[in-house]
């Protein structure tokens, strides 16, 4: 019954695969003599769920790190919204609307769930440090707005019962959810998920799958995810990229990828 101005903003037009949001062109990355990525090219379209799979050491996490500016490739171009980026650092990538979750979680264990998710709003806070400290004028109004966004995320992820619980005391599956919440608080256009289901039991995985699909569906967020659970990947992603030894060996819909001989040999195993 009450007006919710920001809610409308968060609900995007839904699942219509759109224009190219991110394109990776001939990217190569090496550490000394080790080639982590070699001439990898692919594109991510708006609103799609794109999975990156591959055996251990195939360069999946490196790829995510290139996209959000942790690593800078020696060769190749990355275009975000058509604009080529050169040596973007993580801060700028975040400001452009790229958020990520981490394989090993990056939360403040001693802080509660609410505050952890609030850190995701950091980039959007405009009031100065002093104004925030004394909650003066605009700072207070701003905090209320941010809190409202955070509350919607808490509601969305169904973690109302843990609002005031220190994150360190939550079970692992819930911590993963909070990590996702922190990334969502940035209201990203592109969300990078690094093994969101690693270490989870079946039920937690199902929950997480639903949240990933719902994020994509309700907010229209484009998602790139790395995942080892083939069932999950084939179920929820629109298109899959397969990496092996830093090279792209497959790209297409889950069914196409499943049928490619190189992929079967390298990753899914030789069928009998």
């Amino acid at each position: 019954m009450s007006a919710q101005p920001q809610a409308q903003e968060m609900i995007a037009q839904g699942r219509r695969i759109g224009e190219v949001l991110l394109s990776v062109e001939e990217v190569s990355l090496s550490f000394g003599g080790v080639n982590a990525l070699t001439d990898v090219s692919f594109e991510v379209r708006e609103h799609e769920i794109r999975a990156i799979i591959g055996p251990n050491g195939a360069g999946k996490s490196s790829m995510l790190n290139v996209i959000n500016g942790v690593y800078h490739p020696q060769k190749g171009t990355i275009r975000f919204l058509g604009q080529p980026r050169h040596d973007v650092d993580t801060h700028e990538a975040a400001a452009q609307g790229i958020a990520r979750t981490f394989q090993n979680l990056a939360l403040f264990k001693g802080m509660n769930v609410l505050d952890n998710i609030m850190t995701g709003r950091n980039l959007r806070m405009k009031a100065g440090l002093l104004a925030q400290a004394i909650r003066f004028g605009r700072a207070e109004r701003e905090e209320l707005e941010h809190r409202a966004v955070v509350e919607r995320i808490i509601d969305f992820l169904e973690i109302q019962a843990y609002r005031k619980t220190p994150v360190g005391r939550l079970p692992y599956g819930l911590q993963k959810r909070v990590d996702l919440g922190r990334a969502l608080a940035m209201e990203p256009r592109l969300l990078l998920l690094d093994e969101p289901m690693a270490g989870m039991n079946v039920e937690e995985k199902q929950d997480m799958c639903r949240f990933v699909l719902d994020v994509n569906d309700q907010f229209g967020t484009t998602i790139v995810l790395i995942e080892h659970d083939m069932g999950v990947v084939m179920d929820i992603s629109d298109r899959v990229i397969v990496l092996d030894y830093g090279k792209k060996i497959g790209d297409g819909t889950p069914d196409e990828v499943r049928g490619t001989q190189a992929v079967i040999d390298a990753y899914l195993g030789v069928s009998h």
Binding site: M1, S2, G14, R15, R147, A148, E151, R152, I154, D155, F156, E158, Q160, A161, R163, E203, Q206, R210, D214, D217, Q218
Partner: protein, 652 residues
Amino acid sequence: MATDIGTLDTFPKLLLHHAAVRGERPAIREKDLGIWQTWTWKQFADEVQILACALAEQGLGRGDHMALIGDNRPRIYAAMCAAQCLGAVPVPMYQDAAAAEMAFPIQNADIAHALAEDQEQVDKLLEILPQCPRLAHITYDDPRGLRHYAQPQLASYDRLREIGVEAQRREPGFIEREIAKGTGDDPAAMFFTSGTTATPKGVVLTHHALIDRARAAAEMEGLSDSDVVLAYLPPAWIGQNIFSYAQPFATGYCICCPESAETVMTDMREIGPSYYFAPPRVLEALLTQVSIRMEDAGRVKRAMYLYFMDVAQRVGGAILDRKKVGVGDRLRYALGDVLVYGPLRNVLGMSRVRVAYTAGEAIGPDLFKFYRSLGINLKQLYGSTETSVFVCVQPNGQVKPDTVGPAVPGVELKFTPQRELLIRSPGLFKEYYKNPQATAEAKDREGWFHTGDAGYFDGDGHLKIIDRVKDVGKLNDGTLFAPKYLENKLKFFPYVKEAVTFGDGRDRVCAFINIDMEAVGNWAEKRSLAYTGYIDLASRDDVGELVGQCVERVNADLAQDPELAGSQIHRFLVLHKELDADDGELTRTRKVRRGFIGERYAPLVKALYAGEASVHVEAQVKYEDGRSGSISADLKIRDAKTFAPAAAKRAA
């Protein structure tokens, strides 16, 4: 004003009354996005009228039924009243019921309209749609995940509201006329009984029955519009309906809907209800939590807690009942109130509770005494769906742990020679829907309702219930066997979650025990016992011994009672899995289905009586996602010490 409101005979009329008399007072609160949102009586009445217009537009009319499936949400209650405005009958359903379980009520009552809380409930309704072709309008409250559903039956709550606003603009005054047509003898709601034995039965209750009982109890307890209730039990359960719908409508008090099932404790602390209902299992869970947390507390705090709880055990109940207590004890209790009881009541969210009820099953005397000794006015009541709850209530100052009190004004009670309790009351149900045979069996021509409960009056005229008439059996030597009585005695131990006893037509009594994962797990941790999960923990020898001690104490207790001394438990086993409603082993209200369990685990029962030392078991389980699997384990069977009957001992 009291005389004025007393003439109103339907819920919609009461709603209009409250909207006029206390329009700005809160009717329903709901915690949403971390903030308590309030609907005043005026807003509530407006919402109901809009909804009623919309439902009328969709073809809901006098005598039709409407399904309501969801947790406690203001919109569910608004829809309930909206249906009643039109003379239709709301049928609340358990939100955790499986899809197949929902099909029967929907077919039985020819339901065409439903309000579902969220995607989960909508999915279930869509699943049974082929069996329920009449179901034409499904409205959902929470649109999450439903945007791509294209079924023509579906509409969002907001869409329904739009229809209602439009219809109301076109034809103002329509709803007032519809409300005026209603009378107290119209059916107000239909509740499907959980069906321990056969198919569920739809219990039809009239406006008059519900309102009469709601008023009788409200007058007895002096409830007013300043009271506050937390609505946290399933709305499909008659008790919840009485406390969160009938009584607020009768008195104008406010109900509060928690944010989610997991936040109930926090929400209760924030709201501080003044009127509270909890089935014994909820009270037990709270006490278990308190005990576990106290065991983890520092030494000083623990000593203080133990000392003052001891004081409370001795005199707390007497002080609450305004009986004579010495000055020293009074001072000690007052100090304890500042240091322990007050803070504890606050943590439990019961600081402001004036009247608290428990019912549904027997409550352990220790558990009951614990709350009363803290100064919480917890009382027992007796009633059922068929009687609009209030049959017996313990009046203030006359509270005993083993009875349910005398009859509430308006109720007549008597017993058959088989000790079956018969009830005649204005709150009795009208009929079982489309089941005249069952109606005739339950309600005789003189209007007596046959409860099926066995019991008697104690010396003060308080009702005491021991078991179901049909469950009371006999051992081969003729000893009385009251299974539920024994099971309850076992369940009063924190380590025992469920118990199932066997003995009717046998030589002696044997039992299945379900351990309480939380309590036993904590116990194991304290002893550095490593375990991997439920099955592992349940099969531990130490746990078996722990349970054995509980069984022995029950036996010692039973030995004191000459009637029941012969039904001591001789052998028992600890079950490898928790009994679960999804597997059909418990009813939705968590009562054990003894017969079903006996058949399902027939080899275990056989092993118990054959004197074997262990038994191998393989069981089918249904997971929450609907798949089934199987688990296997070796269960040890243990003998329990039994005691000579007290009378015999004295003779020897």
